[in-house]
């Protein structure tokens, strides 16, 4: 059986649309009948990553692959990259500019939250080239 695949282009610097893709992924998972807990974990992890992509990287692409066993989501951008991934994984670490914080984002919980709500998280980043984030949620 083929996996259900979803693709979204995320535009940058448009906070009003930020979260659209994670909302659509959530809707698809509900229609498929995944358990509420799995849906919540995917929705939160992907939302955080999507916001990061809008705030830091001027948008990018999101590709999700859904099977009965697991949900894999790859978020790819060509933004500035993360110089120190270890530091970025710490709760509260934030580089968000003031205008972004005023909107309630940038509390430094992005990557830590993604890690908390996913079963596997891999971050590949090169300064000046971009960042790719691999999120996996296992259907327990």
């Amino acid at each position: 059986m083929d996996a259900v695949t979803l693709h979204y282009d995320v535009s940058g610097n448009d906070f009003t649309c930020a979260g659209e893709a994670s909302r659509k992924i959530k809707k698809t998972l509900k229609t498929l009948g995944f358990s509420p807990e799995i849906i919540r974990n995917v929705a939160i992890a992907v939302y955080e990553a999507e916001i990061n992509m809008v705030v830091h990287a001027n948008g990018g692409t999101i590709d999700a692959s859904v099977t009965p066993e697991q949900i894999d989501v790859v978020l790819k951008d060509t933004g500035p990259g993360i110089p120190n991934i270890e530091l970025a994984m710490q709760e509260g670490w934030s580089t968000a500019p003031e205008n972004v914080r005023q909107l309630g984002f940038g509390a430094g919980m992005g990557l830590p939250n993604i890690k908390k709500y996913s079963d596997a998280l891999r971050v590949e980043s090169e300064v000046g080239k971009g960042t790719t984030i691999y999120i996996t949620v296992i259907n327990k």
Partner: protein
């Protein structure tokens, strides 16, 4: 009884089979089939948006006529707080309550009085149950409770486990009548004066108790003329009013939230706004909020489809009426929360799932996406479904076929067995202009 009772109904004679209601329905519960609208019972939440929008008045709420009260020896009216804002120049709530007696009721029990008990109990609940997931969601609007059951079942656990003011009022009114008259409980008829169809559904098929404490519902706009008439003739008045500012304020957005006396309570109104907020709660984005009051109608209950007055006017009248009243006249004092706890929890209504097992659901989802890619994505509604996606979903569920799409038929008539691209399906005015200079579109 039907599995899912709904007070919102269709008058087939009046229905023209147009697309106003299907596109307005917040849960995509309406389709046009054989030239008439049909309501998908599992999805309908009785919010009444279709009643509001239908230009032919083909959607209506099944309700009781005032004659039904004659079946009972002793009749009690339960006016919703929103009733108080319906009539001009009523400066005293007591006048209005006496007018209810004049149209045939033996007693009046204000839902606003029961609402004050629920406000008191909500405060107590929030204080005594810090372990209950935040934000706690109000249980008062039955359209919202049903919305959660259908679209947000994982939020059922957050619904305040207390009775709605209406149910509490029904229970208290019957107890009072038994005590004061000596009639048996079944000889007493308790009737809600309702601003909306969702409340009628909640009485006939309760989500919070096995059987509602209320015997019937009379619509505000049905008794409105009789009330106005009696108000002009009133001579004697008995003292019936026993609700204060907090109770009356429940008739409009913000009343219930302010009744919790917490700055971390948030009122929301309008079904689309409520859907957005529920989605945010689901994503754990509102965890710093204590309590959310959700009203399906704009303005709160004064915005219900069975009211008689413009909601903004009704709201300003409510504000004037409550001005010189005491804060509250009812509380649950030292009685335990159990005294106002709902008998049961709302149940999940599995209307969204494509199939019972994931494998089958995924096969259907892949087929759905494939079918959707051949549709014009104009969401024109002429297939009888609210969107191209909804039609694709109906097809994989086996309800209908691609032949419902007018653009598919048009393309076939134009010669091609199937259009080569989706672009060809779209009628000329909707086709995007090709860029001729090769540059990016501005």
């Amino acid at each position: 009884m039907e599995k899912y009772y709904h007070s919102v109904r269709l008058d087939k004679e009046k229905c023209q089979g147009c697309i106003h209601c299907i596109q307005r329905c917040p849960t995509q519960a309406i389709r046009v089939r054989n030239g008439k609208a049909i309501i998908l019972a599992a999805r309908c939440i009785d919010c009444g948006e279709c009643i509001r929008v239908c230009p032919h008045k083909a959607k209506y709420a099944e309700r009781d006529s005032i004659e039904i009260i004659q079946k009972f020896k002793y009749k009690v009216a339960l006016p919703a707080p929103s009733l108080y804002g319906q009539i001009a120049n009523v400066t005293d709530v007591n006048l209005l309550l006496n007018a209810l007696l004049a149209i045939g009721f033996d007693d009046v029990f204000e839902v606003a009085a029961a609402a004050e008990r629920i406000s008191d109990a909500t405060k107590k609940f929030l204080r005594e149950h810090p372990e209950f997931s935040r934000p706690v969601i109000s249980s008062a609007c039955p359209a919202i409770v049903r919305l959660i059951s259908v679209l947000y079942p994982n939020l059922i656990d957050r619904i305040l486990p207390l009775r709605s003011p209406m149910e509490e009022a029904g229970r208290l009114a019957r107890e009072k009548a038994v005590r004061e008259t000596g009639f048996a409980p079944e000889e007493i008829g308790v009737f809600f004066i309702t601003p909306c169809p969702a409340k009628i559904t909640a009485i006939r098929h309760s989500q919070e108790s096995e059987k509602s404490s209320i015997d019937g519902a009379v619509a505000i706009n049905d008794i409105y003329p009789a009330l106005v008439n009696q108000l002009g003739k009133l001579r004697e008045q008995s003292e019936l009013q026993h609700a204060g500012r907090i109770g009356i304020s429940w008739g409009m957005t913000g009343g219930e939230a302010s009744g919790t006396l917490s700055d971390a309570s948030m009122p929301v109104d309008g079904i689309e706004n409520c859907i957005n907020v529920l989605s945010e709660i689901e994503d754990e984005k509102l965890n710093d909020i204590e309590f959310v009051e959700l009203n399906a109608c704009m303005g709160g209950c004064v915005g219900g489809v069975l009211t008689a007055e413009n909601p903004y006017i009704a709201k300003s009248r409510l504000k004037n009426l409550r001005k010189y009243l005491p804060m509250a006249l009812n509380n649950i004092a030292d009685s335990p929360l159990a005294a106002v706890t709902a008998e049961k929890r709302p149940e999940e209504i599995p209307a969204l799932k494509l199939a019972d097992n994931l494998k089958e659901a995924m096969e259907k989802m892949n087929r759905l996406n494939e079918i959707l890619s051949t549709f014009p994505r104009l969401d024109c509604g002429t297939c009888g479904a609210p969107s191209c996606r909804a039609l694709a979903e109906d097809i994989v569920r086996g309800y209908t076929s691609e032949q419902d799409c007018i653009f598919r038929i048009r393309a076939e008539l134009e010669g091609a067995a199937l259009p080569k691209s989706v672009e060809e399906l779209i009628p000329p005015p909707f086709r995007q202009k090709k860029n001729t200079d090769g540059g990016d579109k501005k």
